[in-house]
């Protein structure tokens, strides 16, 4: 029994096991996004769901990201067929209302769906406080590297993407991020 060779073989196993154990700590389905830290891709999309006063915008109005510079923008992608979106819906509406009067803009963007379905869903969920726009060919969704819904992007006042949340966004986290972006606002 050649113990030296056997020992070498045993030792070589260690890096293999190391790689496996590292792999077990990460979620294979999660794709880290390269967008945070970079300027947010611009969009100009038409409102299909007006939201509620005082945050409402008329149907057909165009929401342009360029117009929103200087404000913190919370861009939330959702769909009526998305079960997880139901979890975050009321929380987001409530948080949006809390920031009335502050330089914060919530925008919902409909993903792979029709305005008819979206409007019906909003009605079923008891209303949405902020306006939602339609992204018919998913161009904006792809621009933001979407791979599922819901996804929420936080765009700072300088137009850069500060954070991205994949999955339902807890209201406390949303508030925390907005507050930190507001306090680091440049004069």
């Amino acid at each position: 029994m050649n113990w030296r060779r056997a020992g070498i073989a045993a030792v070589l196993v260690i890096p293999v096991v190391f790689v496996f154990s590292r792999g077990m700590k990460t979620d294979p389905r999660e794709i880290p996004s390269p967008l945070p830290g970079n300027p947010a891709p611009g969009f100009a999309l038409a409102v299909f769901a007006p939201g509620q006063p005082p945050l409402e915008r008329p149907i057909g109005d165009t929401v342009r990201l360029a117009d929103l510079k200087g404000r913190v923008v919370v861009l939330n992608f959702w769909a009526s067929w998305c079960l997880a979106c139901r979890d975050e819906h009321q929380g987001l509406s409530a948080v949006a209302r809390d920031y009335t009067g502050k330089p914060v803009q919530f925008v919902g963007s409909l993903y792979q769906d029709t305005p008819g379905n979206g409007t019906a869903w909003i009605a079923e969920m008891g209303g949405q406080s902020y306006p939602s726009v339609n992204d018919p060919k998913a161009l904006t969704a792809i621009d933001y590297g979407l791979y599922g819904v819901p996804e929420t992007f936080f765009i700072a006042q300088d137009g850069k993407i500060a954070r991205k949340i994949t999955g339902p966004a807890p209201p406390a986290v949303v508030k925390h991020i907005i507050d930190s972006l507001l306090t680091t606002a440049s004069p």
């Binding site: 056997a6 073989a9 590292r22 077990m24």
Partner: protein, 677 residues
């Protein structure tokens, strides 16, 4: 409150642990002290394991069929609406049940190994049995620990969610997992014998290969069938029109198949020339390690795949097990390597031996390429922290050269004799098949294949098929001349005279069919997508499709929406296809079922992509893929070849007992002189 099913099942699994442990301890005691009675205890443990696993499996089947929702696994996959057939096969549909099934198959193989071989003298079989018990121990621990299928559910639910809808769409789902497990688990047997050979000091001899030859052949046959069935199922069910996506778990089933194929060939070199002993040990250990790797990948949550089971702590158990297996395997092979090194001798480079060496080179290279590709995202993430993908384009580019080389070698190997071929013989055997190469290359070009690799694959298949066919025709011709037999008789007697060789050639033909099917369907595939209203038509591959109807119906566990399309040749209706969408109550996304019309020359494949709720129009994707059925047919031929080649002959079953039975196991045999060439 646990039901009878739960009690019996869980109790059997709990009981299995001490029995297995006892067996593992009993074998070394028996060997070291020369005690036959301890060996009987060891073998008894193997039988007890089988009995207990059978009891547990039967208890689970009973629980599933009677909808006993107090049992956790049934609560997970059972449902009163699921038809009986799918209820039974949901035994292996989710994690815990699949582990139970694996453990049962392993115990069955263990029992069969002992029952068939226990009269054999020496320590090979005892140590092999011990190894199998060690593997069984791991699965038994899983079954009473993280993968317990007999957990108690309280309060008892009225109904369950049913099995995953994807598993209820097609009959092949009944066939693929059992075949896969029979193949995968079967590879434990040659491994156990290899370990047994090293531990008992018999690794210098070829007995461990001879004894396991049938096992290896059978497992290889099952694995081949399982891979083809999996491809076929994926093709008919998943709706993208393909049959192989280089998904990590598809790769995981393919990797041990590659090393097992290499072993089938290089084992012949060891039997004839006494060479490659260390290499063969490597292959057998590697094959087993790859099977464990495959099951680790699906159950650890480490990769995301269509096959991935839900995960939990079980991943860490598998990680521990694979670490032990890797270390044990490495130590065993590396540790005994210098003792086994043979003074090799070849008569000539122009011989079948050399071809087999090259065969092993390319099969191993193929395996390592796929392994690198499969594990690379893990490694890259661990080291760079960045996620990368390794998919179809990578594998196709990197493996095509090796596949082409292997196809060519499949023509050279059968043509060359063992030991040495004279120049005249080389010319006589290797040049004529070139005609076949030219013929098939011409066929490819005429069919419209412009891709150079496509034409090359056709050419090599033409060469190899001609060479293999000539082996049959020359051999049968010689028999006719010698014994004045008719062609069919000569043919059958030829095969019977050397089953292993001619079974192998038949399997080669199976591979040729698969290769042609894959080459043609990937290069000449055409696709069209259109939104049709009733009565409208679309064209594909010279045929017209007309939308007849869009309909829906209720079934117990799901609702089905389908489109009926007629296939027209000119104005004549030659068939109908009904692609469907299945809406399961428990799923938010519908599951599409494509409909396929298969012909000898190709498949017309329709998928229902979308439809208007009022049933006024439907979006259909139509794909025409030539020669796809040749893949399934070729798979069948491969399995037939395995059966012909591997079926134990009466000659082999008669095991000469040199010493009367029973005998105490003898101490490890003294060192014998180097194996003579």
């Amino acid at each position: 409150m646990q039901s009878v099913n739960g009690l019996v099942g869980h109790g059997a699994l709990l009981l299995a642990l001490p029995f297995i442990a006892l067996g593992i301890i009993a074998v070394p005691v028996a060997v070291n002290r020369g005690r036959r009675d301890w060996l009987e205890i060891g073998y008894g443990a193997v039988y007890a394991n089988f009995a207990l696993m059978t009891a547990a499996a039967l208890a689970m089947i009973s629980a599933l069929v009677t909808h006993d929702f107090s049992v956790s696994y049934v609560a997970q996959v059972g449902s009163r609406e699921t038809p009986l057939f799918y209820t039974i096969i949901s035994l292996w549909g989710a994690l815990e049940g699949s582990i139970l099934f694996w453990a049962w198959v392993l115990s069955f193989y263990g029992m069969t190994v002992v029952a068939l071989n226990k009269s054999r003298v020496g320590n090979l079989v005892p140590y092999a049995a011990m190894t199998l018990l060690c593997i069984s121990l791991f699965f038994a621990i899983l079954l009473v620990g993280p993968a317990n299928p007999f957990g108690i559910v309280s309060p008892v639910p009225q109904n369950g969610p049913g099995p995953n809808p994807l598993l209820q769409n097609h009959i092949l789902m009944a066939v693929h997992p059992p075949l896969l497990y029979l193949g995968y688990v079967g590879m434990s047997v040659p491994f156990a014998f290899a370990v047994g050979a090293v531990l008992s000091g018999e690794a210098e001899h070829n007995d461990w290969i001879k004894v396991t030859r049938t096992w290896t052949m059978a497992s290889w046959g099952f694995l081949s069938a399982a891979i083809i069935a999996g491809m076929w199922w994926s093709y008919e069910v998943l709706g993208w029109g393909g049959y192989w996506a280089w998904d990590p778990v598809e790769n995981a089933s393919f990797l041990p198949w590659l090393t097992a194929t290499a072993f089938l060939h290089s084992a012949m070199v060891q039997e004839r020339r006494g060479m490659l002993r260390v290499w063969n040990l490597n292959l057998v250990v590697g094959t087993f390690v790859l099977t464990i790797l495959g099951t680790f990948l699906t159950r650890s949550g480490i990769i995301s795949s269509v096959h991935a089971f839900t995960t939990g702590t079980i991943g860490y158990y598998f990680l521990a097990f694979i670490t032990i297996v890797l270390i044990a395997g490495g130590v065993i092979v590396a540790g005994s390597s210098d003792k086994l090194r043979s003074r090799g001798r070849l008569d000539s480079a122009a011989s079948r031996e050399t071809v087999f060496l090259l065969n092993n080179l390319f099969l191993t290279g193929f395996m390592l390429t796929v392994l690198v590709g499969t594990l690379f995202p893990l490694v890259a993430e661990a080291i760079r922290g960045v996620k990368v993908s390794v998919g179809g384009p990578f594998y196709n580019r990197m493996t095509l050269p090796m596949i082409a080389a292997l196809l060519f070698l499949m023509g050279v190997g059968p043509a060359l004799p063992w030991k040495i071929a004279s120049t005249a013989e080389l010319k006589r055997k290797l040049i004529p098949p070139a005609a076949g190469a030219v013929l098939l290359a011409a066929v490819a070009l005429v069919a419209g294949i412009h891709d150079p690799y496509g034409v090359l694959v056709f050419a090599f298949v033409g060469y190899a098929a001609t060479a293999n066919f000539r082996e049959f025709s020359i051999g049968a011709g010689a028999r006719r001349a010698a014994h004045d037999e008719s062609w069919p008789t000569a043919f059958v007697r030829l095969v019977e005279g050397n089953r292993r060789r001619y079974g192998g050639y038949i399997a080669h033909f199976g591979v040729f069919f698969v290769a042609l099917g894959v080459a043609m369907s990937s290069t000449l595939r055409t696709e069209r997508e259109a939104t049709l209203q009733r009565g409208m038509t679309m064209q594909i591959a010279g045929r017209t499709l007309r939308l007849q109807d869009i309909w829906g119906r209720e079934e117990p566990q799901r609702q089905v929406v389908g489109a009926t399309l007629e296939i027209l040749n000119g104005n004549r209706v030659i068939g109908t296809l009904e692609p469907r969408m299945n809406f399961y109550r428990t799923q938010q996304e519908p599951v599409p079922t494509p409909d396929v019309r298969s012909g000898v020359l190709g498949d017309l494949y329709l998928n229902l992509m979308a439809f208007r709720p009022d049933g006024s129009s439907a979006t259909i994707r139509a794909i025409y893929q030539p020669l796809v059925p040749w893949i399934w047919f070729g798979g069948g031929v491969v399995v037939f070849g395995a059966i012909v080649g591997g079926w134990p002959t009466a000659r082999r079953r008669r095991a000469p007992a040199r010493v009367p039975v029973p005998t105490p196991p003898s101490p490890p045999p003294a060192r014998e002189p180097e194996y003579a060439a």
